[in-house]
Amino acid sequence: MESVGKIVQILLRGFVLTLELAGVTVVVAVLLGAALAMVSFSRFLAVRFAAKFFSWLIRGIPPLVLLLGAYYGLFYAGLDLSPFVSATIALSISHAAYFMENIRGGILALPKGQVEAGRALGMSRTRIAWRVELPELLRIIRPTCLASTTTLVKNTSVASIVAVGELMSVANKQVAVTGEPFLVLAIAGLFYFVACSVLLLLGRGSSR
């Protein structure tokens, strides 16, 4: 049996990769989600429909299926990508749909009175957008976006299926090596618990 210290050390390396995977994914997913949210208010019906169809489609499919699609599909399409990159692509697409809905909901919830007040004060349209609407939007979407980010961090564990080498994959390997499922998975769980608790607490703090 390996010492607890050594297991922690090995899992910590996996945890760092989990954070990297989650970090890259959250940036891509938020940017993609924001673009889709804006597009979903397009004046063209076909564009609005396409954005909403994407959201419905992606939110209806398990992340695991999307991951297998990105992993095998891109490979058979002739792209030899690393598991990390295919996991980033799949998780980004999967979560972009959720960030899109969060941002869309935030835009719909923007109070009109503030814009009118801004106009009454003689502010220009861009100034209102940057100084009034954007800060208000960020305030509104922060809790939901942080909740989605928590789900994202948890869903990076799915990437272990294609052996990305993040926390869940490393933990699985350690379970096999040590034959101590409770110990290894409890330590892995502790890492997820800490990371997700921080995100959830940030979300709570901002909503109060």
Binding site: L57, R59, G60, I61, P62, P63, L64, V65, L68, G69, Y72, G73, F75, Y76, A77, T150, K154, N155, T156, S157, V158, S160, I161, M168, A171, N172, V175, P181, F182, L185, A188, G189, Y192, F193, A195, C196, S197, L200
Partner: protein
């Protein structure tokens, strides 16, 4: 585009239709099992959570823990852990229990919001009128709580459907696992994955349809109340 037209695609349903249907059935079984387990756990825990006892804090800790742990980790924890403590049950049951546990955390919050939608005074006045606690729940609390509970419960159920895909990892032959098997046999990933994705979309669309029905049945009343009070406030 050779991966679309390998000739495997038109054959996938005729050749693997049976196992795909079995997989879909297993996905439905996992979903229903998960919802049953999570409801059985969440109903009493939601009541405790809403109570003023010290156990309320413990339930809050349980919810928090399960909200921060990946479903896959809980599945592995039970799949590898249960045999170690001498419990050997079929992988399907392990998956149902694990999925039910994680889903229960969300359901506790959903049921809580339903219970707290009923003003506390109504419990007390119903009791003061001499109603039994059975009557208090069936005639006073549930009719008011269910409209609040059902829409988020069903939308949580669509998350549960997606969670069942993870059972593939512990050898449960559900939809995703069947797709993985077909990929291994035919080395054509697109046709089985698209077929399976459509399967999930169909199951989830049925649930979304139910949600719309429930909202039409229960939603109108509370919405019209909201509108009139809003209008009154605006006057």
């Amino acid at each position: 585009m050779n991966f679309f037209g390998t000739g495997a695609q038109p054959g996938i349903l005729s050749e693997y239709g049976g196992s795909l249907l079995h997989g879909a059935l297993m996905t439905v079984v996992l979903t229903l099992g998960c919802l049953a387990v999570s409801t059985a756990i969440a109903v009493p825990l939601a009541v405790v959570r809403e109570s003023r006892s010290i156990w309320s804090r413990l339930v809050a800790g349980y919810t928090w823990l399960l909200l921060t742990l990946p479903q896959l980790l809980v599945i592995f924890f039970m799949f590898y852990g249960l045999p170690v403590i001498g419990i050997t049950i079929p992988a399907v049951l392990t998956a149902i229990l694990a999925l039910g546990l994680t889903t229960s955390a969300y359901n506790i919050e959903i049921f809580r919001s339903g219970i707290s939608a009923v003003p506390r005074g109504q419990f007390e006045s119903a009791r003061a009128l001499g109603m039994s606690s059975w009557h208090v729940w069936t005639r006073i609390v549930l009719p008011q709580a269910l409209p609040v509970i059902i829409p988020p419960f069903i939308s949580n159920a669509t998350l549960a459907v997606k969670g069942t895909a993870l059972a593939a990892v512990v050898t449960v032959p559900e939809l995703t696992s069947v797709a993985m098997g077909i990929i291994n046999e035919t080395s054509d990933p697109i046709a089985p994955l698209v077929t399976v994705a459509v399967g999930y979309l169909i199951i989830n669309s049925i649930l979304t349809g139910l949600q719309a029905l429930a909202e039409r049945k229960y939603g109108n009343r509370s919405r019209s109340v909201k509108r009139t009070t809003l209008r009154k406030a605006l006057r």
